[in-house]
Subunit: 353 residues, 2 copies
């Protein structure tokens, strides 16, 4: 059994982490739920009992086996090292440490091997959870790369409001209702009103003209796949979808892959579900992916503009597999490598060591 | 002055054609508004007077200088040749004739020269209006091609409900309202509910795995630019936007074009407005393009995955420039080539010929 801290427990990803931990029967001995002073004192139910939200500002980081951070990059930068220093495995959902050379950036289905360094309990380590758009992309790219070597990746995203958290979801619903009533929709979370609009900006702009989100997809995909020179470019767009990111993706490979080859490879890949029966109008959709932990891929077809190119449509629940579930899976992967069963390792047998 | 027929006058594109004709003070001597028997007998206002909708089934196609068809491919296939045979210039919004070798497919800013063959009044000719997604794409591609030769084009679209006409718009609004009220949204116009969803299907699927819409963009772009071998591939996606299509576009050119070069070329291109100040969160948006006849382009940046690649974000009102306005511009372009002024050519001077 493990002592687990969730930092940012009241947010959309934090709450979904709790759901996923419960669903997967993660063996929790003690649970510390942290949030900003504003949320401290509130109560959250978990596995049938109420938990008081603790103030992160006065947190005691000691005694945790696992600390999942879901409170943004600034909080992670400030506080995650304290939890790690106190002995926890930190799984960080933010971008704060993703590109640090000594921080594994992990999608368990893709590069669990990157966790070898952290040892059987990951004590004192920070492991980074990738960006949501990256996770669903690399899960599909990996089997294609293993079979045929990627030479180029191009992606245009259709990202949901939930990527901006509960406040993003709330803004989309509220402003869509206002727009339907004839009012001019407003924007506080998004750079412009998202109601009935496709916004080609997620995150701030860099000097290159790319947004932070676009650069994350490039950098993180390269790091996870171990392809630092991979030719990859992305355009990230927020669309009025509640939950679930979609991606139109073009890939080119060294060796020729037919759409049928790709379908067979992807059908056998961990964490992937192929939904590709266009004649029956069956292809991945955000509404169908929401609530699932799989990455859905379809519309797999030859790229008529490239001799060894394929086109795909990739959809996943960005809050679950794109964030919460992947974080929990990272912890499971680390702890599964422990020499004894989790409860033995932490509890009675610990005394025998 | 011209005798003008609008076929499909009660639809979204037909009504917008009437608006555009009035705004541009197109010199109309006689107006025949046609629709299906279902709509016949209704009345539409135009330029201050009421017009009775005529039944297309019993139409007399004679006496028209111009017939704009906006009633779908089947109606065009059946009826457009009759209006042309009776002497009209037919401008057809449907896909029925676009790829026919003897039918000019025209965006006046791009390939007005293709109208040379139709002569000064276009009598008896059918000229095809391209697909909405194609029009806004080629308007931006043309100046880039002239300056640097296109070698490859990749596009992912974000297409509005209005692309499916008034019934598409109505379904989006109605089902979004139902979804907000907690009901499960339904679909009749779209293949799946569009409310809060990105649908990777516009039109039926071809054996290649592409949709009809995707193939239209490929075929029509090649024809309009006169580049039958152009490497181009597209993924067309319907998004919950009311009016205005957006496109994430990658282009590669033979000669190197910097983003700044492209901005200068596009700023000088007819029908294009560059909106590209990312630091101020200024880029093209559907809500801003709606109601305009310009094609907006921004987010112009180097493609990090290609030595001579650029990335762009292109937005236009698909009902106006993507359909109605372009159709009217085609007619204006043909009639402007007439040796005498339009009213002289049709009225008094006609007798002198």
């Amino acid at each position: 059994m493990f002592a687990v801290a969730i930092v940012g427990a009241t947010g959309l990803v934090g709450r979904t982490c709790l759901e996923v931990l419960a669903e997967r029967r993660f063996p929790i001995a003690r649970l510390g739920l942290y949030a900003s002073p504003r949320s401290a004192g509130r109560r959250l139910r978990f596995a049938g009992s109420e938990h008081r939200i603790l103030d992160l500002e006065s947190a005691d980081p000691s005694g945790y086996d696992l600390a999942i951070f879901a409170a943004g990059a600034e909080v992670s930068r400030r506080t995650a090292p304290e939890f790690a220093a106190a002995g926890a495995l930190v799984v960080d959902n933010s971008s704060a440490f993703r590109l640090a050379a000594d921080v594994p950036l992990v999608v368990p289905e893709v590069n669990a091997a990157a966790l070898a360094a952290v040892g059987p309990r990951g004590r004192g380590w920070i492991v980074a959870n990738p960006n949501c758009s990256t996770i669903q992309l690399v899960i599909v790219l990996k089997p294609l790369h293993d079979a045929a070597r990627l030479t180029r990746v191009t992606a245009a995203t259709y990202q949901s409001a939930a990527g901006a958290g509960q406040k993003g979801l709330d803004e989309l619903e509220r402003e869509t209702a206002r727009a339907l009533a004839g009012a001019r929709p407003a924007a506080r979370v998004f750079p412009h009103p998202l109601a009935f609009e496709a916004l080609p900006q997620i995150g701030a702009f860099l000097d290159s003209g790319a947004t932070v989100e676009e650069q994350k997809m490039v950098d993180e995909t390269r790091k996870i796949l171990g392809l630092p020179e991979l030719a990859i470019s992305t355009t990230c767009v927020r669309v009025p979808v509640k939950v679930g990111h979609s991606e139109a993706v073009w890939v080119e490979t060294e060796r020729l892959l037919s759409p049928e080859d790709a379908r067979v490879l992807l059908a056998a890949a961990p964490g992937v579900r192929v939904v590709d029966e266009p004649a029956a109008a069956r292809y991945p959709l955000a509404a169908a992916a929401a609530g699932s932990d799989l990455v859905y891929v379809g519309r797999i077809r030859r790229d008529p503009a490239s001799p060894r190119g394929l086109m795909l449509w990739i959809v996943a629940d960005n809050v679950r597999k794109g964030a919460a579930t992947n974080a929990v899976q990272i912890a499971e992967t680390v702890f599964a490598a422990a020499p004894a069963a989790p409860d033995a390792a932490h509890g009675r047998t610990a005394a025998r060591r």
